[in-house]
């Protein structure tokens, strides 16, 4: 089921809201959420529902085992078991085919490639489940004794399919008690409406523009390649951040507060800033559950010590970071898809991050501010767009990348490329503006002024009425677009 569809908005959601709020007990409410979440998942993948239930059960058992472990060794064994089982499931269902293909290619064998259908959301729910077992081990939370509560955490439909990656510790308390009032529901509806607007109005139309430019009528040109990837970059942002907005909004409607996932990433000055604004929950996950463990691992600490002893002080200081970053970014790339272009994309960003941290930052400090800013911002645009080119092309990657430099194109531009850009010109301008926080900035200023002139209560009323008008308008607008638009792709769905 897709959030931005008439079925979800006009059947699933109203029914859920009705049934949730009709009962008062927290057991009823948790039960309703659980039933609807399982139904939501079954709607998309009836067969793999059992796999997800199985995963929840495993994590439940291992959580209890860690909690029950009397010795550090026992606890460590339990968490290791839990993590290994989670990764094994992910490995088999997501990467088995890819692994066999790669082995065949490298060793020249012909092992039959297993064709396993990727279960919906497995990358997300597996990572979420792992936060539970690991945080029990780290004593950041107590093991959850109630299976339904843990099951709800793992299967809760808003963030199940495409994030944000919610950690168990984020909502541990909310499983028990949630604060719900009309205000919370209104805030949730507003966030949901914004997300739906981003998806339906911006992402879908940018997607069509990107597809038309990439289809390269009369041959690819340099301009059609760069313009295509620009629209693709916009599509991914509005699609993914819109989905996160809808997820956060939905959670809010039922009293949950989920972590933020995007903070206007395209206004970033450089790659380092970008990854603090883009898919923040994933970055945080890799930082806390892979980066730091690698940095503190025995292997790395041994290496650091031996380097210090042999007098390589800077290497000793920097090498652990570089190693950890390489491991993290290789994994980040791999997490995004079972194909080498994703790994390359991850390594690409890892390389830029390392470059910025150890060389570029210092180099830019030597330049005058204005120049440094211009160079950084312009290069950031090209680095990001080229990164998307790597991300987009699973097949014929190097041929396609050549197009960006005029290799294999029929020229710099042609009438089709120019027409396509012209035909989507206003969309492009408005989308670029919508990537910036300018709307929120203006609204904030107005709200401040109103607070002063009208007083807080009246200002709040104006704000609330305005937001409700926006919600209704966005729902209406999106309904028009969804009814009239059979083109409703959802990229992150394959995670």
């Amino acid at each position: 089921m897709v959030f931005s569809s008439p079925f979800f908005v006009y059947i699933f959601l109203p029914l859920l809201l009705l049934l949730y709020y009709v009962g008062k007990s927290s057991t009823w409410r948790r039960g309703i959420l659980l039933v609807f979440s399982l139904f939501f998942y079954a709607w998309g993948e009836p067969v793999y529902l059992f796999l997800m239930l199985f995963s929840a059960l495993i994590n439940y058992i291992f959580g209890l085992l860690v909690g029950a472990g009397k010795t550090p060794a026992a606890r460590k064994a339990a968490v290791a078991g839990g993590v290994i089982l989670n990764l094994a499931m992910l490995g088999v269902f997501k990467y088995a085919g890819f692994a066999v293909e790669s082995i065949n290619a490298v060793l020249g064998l012909s092992i039959p490639v297993p064709a396993i259908v990727l279960p919906l959301g497995i990358s997300f729910y597996t990572f979420q489940a792992m936060t539970y077992v690991i945080d029990v081990y780290r004593e950041n939370c107590a093991p959850q004794k109630s299976f339904p509560r843990l099951l709800l955490f793992i299967t809760f439909f808003p963030q199940l399919v495409a994030g944000p990656i919610v950690r168990y510790t984020d909502i541990e308390d909310q499983l028990e008690y949630r604060r719900v009032s009309a205000k919370e529901i209104n805030d949730g509806l507003y966030r949901f409406a914004i997300g739906m607007g981003k998806k339906v109005v911006f992402a879908n139309t940018c997607a069509l523009a990107a597809e038309n430019l990439f289809a390269s009528t009369a041959g690819p040109t340099v301009l059609s390649s760069w313009a295509g990837v620009l629209f693709y970059a916009l599509q991914v942002y509005f699609d993914f951040s819109g989905y996160s907005d809808m997820a956060i909004g939905l959670g809010h409607m039922f009293g949950f507060t989920f972590p933020e996932n995007f903070d206007h990433p395209y206004i970033s000055k450089n790659v380092t800033e970008y990854w603090r604004r883009w898919h923040m929950t994933l970055g945080g996950w890799f930082r806390d559950y892979l980066f730091y463990p690698v940095m503190r691992s025995k292997l790395v600490t041994k290496l650091t010590r031996s380097l210090k002893k042999s007098g390589h002080k800077t290497a000793a200081k920097n090498l652990p970071t570089i190693i950890a970053l390489t491991v993290v970014w290789f994994s980040t790339g791999l997490w995004h898809g079972a194909s080498w272009n994703y790994v390359l994309w991850g390594v690409y960003y890892g390389a830029w991050l390392i470059l910025e941290k150890f060389i570029l930052d210092k180099a830019y400090k030597r330049l005058p501010d204005m120049l440094s800013t211009i160079i950084q911002r312009v290069s950031f645009v090209f680095i990001t767009l080229f990164g998307y080119a790597i991300f987009y092309n699973e097949k014929n990657l190097f041929t396609k990348l050549g197009h960006y430099f005029g290799i294999g194109t029929t020229g710099f531009t042609n009438v089709y490329s120019e027409s396509m850009i012209y035909e989507n010109g206003l969309l492009l301008i408005v989308s670029l503006i919508a990537c910036t926080p300018i709307a929120a900035f203006i609204m904030g200023k107005i709200r401040a002024k109103l607070n002063v002139s009208l007083g807080e209560e009246k200002a709040y009323t104006v704000d609330r009425v305005f937001k409700t008008v926006v919600i209704i308008a966005l729902f209406a607008l999106c309904t028009v677009r969804l009814a009239g638009d059979s083109y409703n792709p959802f990229i992150y769905f394959k995670f």
Binding site: P14, W43, G425
Partner: protein
């Protein structure tokens, strides 16, 4: 903040009422629509439950489609949505000179090329009775004197692409001498005489010419000719297979144009099936008339060089023809009359005037004389026609390209009988229905099967027309010559025409479609199904 709580509850209440009303209205629809007028397709229906579809998730996906498709007020929403699409473009800020390309929003969802082996269906023709041997075979005269041919060329005709050369040689009979070569025709074709007496024909640009070799004996001259055709160099877009998508729709000088592409995969298959038709109906002439799309009338080389070249498509299709098939190449007549109102501005069809030239070329090619266009009475059906291009694109600019539908009314009395698939039929004494204010006026649109009878014309002169919607405007002109015109639209009919017509004694069969239909898989399959 008591007021705050109140306002929150109030706006929430209002929103819930609105959302709930739409939800309830949707669920309580008693009659759900089944067809979308604006999108020209059938709408999804409530799926049946099967374990297969349930386990694969298809059952639920189909339900979601059903809810989407039967959403209350959907037709209005779809038309609103299409209007909004115009907002994407910079055309709101400034109008762009020259050609604008808009992409058909349904493009990109077509079929992919299949590289399957193809073979025509199994078919056994009745054995062709051996012909009575005729005496008029020049090379087998039982005379005393062996006949010597003064000069014989290595080929009687040659076709090649501009920029290439062609080697032509002559065999001079004994006793003949003084071989002289000459060429007459388009200036882009020239000859260079080689040392060994042969000649290299050079085609610098497209055109036609005749190369003549002349020899002498006893003061008398004898010659032989070779007809040279040089084709234009093909521009890249035309090389793409017909399934190359998305195809750009073009707006240029107040008209909308669609494009089509030559299919190197399907052209030989079409040629093979045309030949098969010719074999199956040995006493009937097999004709192929392919209408170009409107872009053939774009004369500005700045624009025409950037889009698919319809003239080149026709030439390439003609080059594939094998066997006893009459391919009527409409390229020249359309290039000649490009300034006239041959195609609609807001519809992908040709006008009745446009269809006239196809009719006249076809009739000439089968040895008859077409009725001059001035000899028809003209009726103006409407001057406010907005056609299919608006429906395809939803682009508001197209909505301002009003078209006038002129109909050249048949001169002779006729009856048109339309047969429906349920066996019912209706008979009319017109074949252009001036009451319909659209392209559908021509033979009242697409029908599975219909027969036009013209009592004034010889009743044994009959023609079977296999057509797409372009054929609708073409058919009325045939009433000038044929006594019986049978019209089949293979998309709607389920008939084996070999069984139906093998003993009928058809004079002509004509396959009358446009370059888009004539290069794509579905129409090839239709032709196969008609004889399978």
């Amino acid at each position: 903040m008591r007021n705050n709580k109140f306002i929150d509850e109030l706006v929430l209440f209002i929103f819930v009422i609105l959302l709930g009303s739409v939800a309830i209205l949707n669920l309580c629809q008693t009659e759900r629509p089944t067809v979308s007028e604006i999108e020209n397709r059938n709408l999804a229906t409530m799926p049946d439950f099967t374990w297969d579809t349930f386990l694969s998730g298809k059952y639920f996906a189909d339900i979601a489609d059903f809810v989407s498709d039967t959403f209350i007020g959907r037709e209005t929403l779809v038309s609103l949505s299409k209007k909004m699409d115009t907002l994407k473009s910079l055309s709101i800020i400034y109008e762009r000179e020259g050609m604008t390309v808009i992409i058909d929003p349904n493009a990109g969802q077509g079929e992919k090329e299949e590289s399957d082996d193809f073979s025509l269906p199994e078919f056994s023709l009745p054995p062709i009775p051996p012909e009575e041997s005729d005496v008029s075979d020049e090379s087998d005269i039982s005379g005393d004197e062996p006949v010597i041919i003064p000069v014989k060329l290595s080929a009687e005709s040659a076709t090649f692409t501009a920029g290439a050369t062609y080697l032509l040689s002559a065999t001079v009979g004994e006793g003949y001498e003084n071989l002289v070569w000459s060429v007459t025709g388009d200036s882009g074709i020239s000859i260079v005489v080689n040392n060994d007496g042969s000649v290299t024909v050079k085609g610098d640009s497209a055109g036609n010419a005749i190369v003549t070799a002349t020899v002498n004996k006893d003061g008398e001259a004898f010659s032989a000719e070779c007809v040279i055709t040089v084709n234009a160099v093909v521009i890249a877009p035309t090389e793409q297979p017909a399934e190359f998508l998305p195809s750009g729709l073009i707006i240029y000088k107040g008209a909308a144009y669609s494009q089509s592409f030559f299919s190197a995969t399907y052209a030989p298959r079409y040629a093979a099936i045309y030949e098969r038709y010719a074999q199956m109906f040995p006493d009937t002439r097999m004709n192929v008339v392919i209408a170009p799309l409107a872009t053939i009338t774009i004369t500005d080389p700045e624009v025409s060089s950037k889009i698919s070249d319809q003239a080149a498509i026709l030439d390439k299709m003609e080059a594939e023809i094998v066997g006893d098939v009459n391919f009527v190449n409409l390229k020249n007549v359309y290039l000649e009359h490009a300034e006239e109102y041959l195609f609609f501005k807001s519809d992908h069809h040709w006008t009745h005037r446009g269809a006239y030239y196809a009719y006249s070329e076809f009739i000439k090619s089968v040895g008859m004389t077409p009725t001059p266009i001035e000899d028809f009475d003209v009726e103006i059906i409407t001057d406010k026609y907005i056609g299919s291009m608006y429906g395809y694109t939803g682009d508001e600019r197209v909505k301002s390209f009003y078209d006038t539908i002129e109909a050249y009314m048949p001169n002779k009395e006729l009856t048109m009988t339309i047969f429906r698939n349920d066996g019912k039929s209706s008979t009319h004494n017109f074949c252009i229905n001036t009451g319909i204010k659209g392209y559908t006026a021509f033979i009242s649109g697409d029908h599975p099967y219909m027969v036009i009878n013209v009592p004034e014309n010889p009743q044994d002169k009959s023609i079977l027309v296999i057509k797409d919607s372009y054929g609708n405007a073409f058919v009325p002109y045939l009433t000038e010559h044929y006594g019986n015109i049978i019209v089949i639209d293979p998309r709607h009919v389920d008939m084996n025409i070999y069984e139906e017509f093998k003993d009928y004694g058809l004079t002509d069969i004509v396959f009358m479609v446009n370059t888009s239909s004539g290069n794509t898989k579905p129409w090839y399959n239709y032709l196969v199904n008609l004889i399978d």
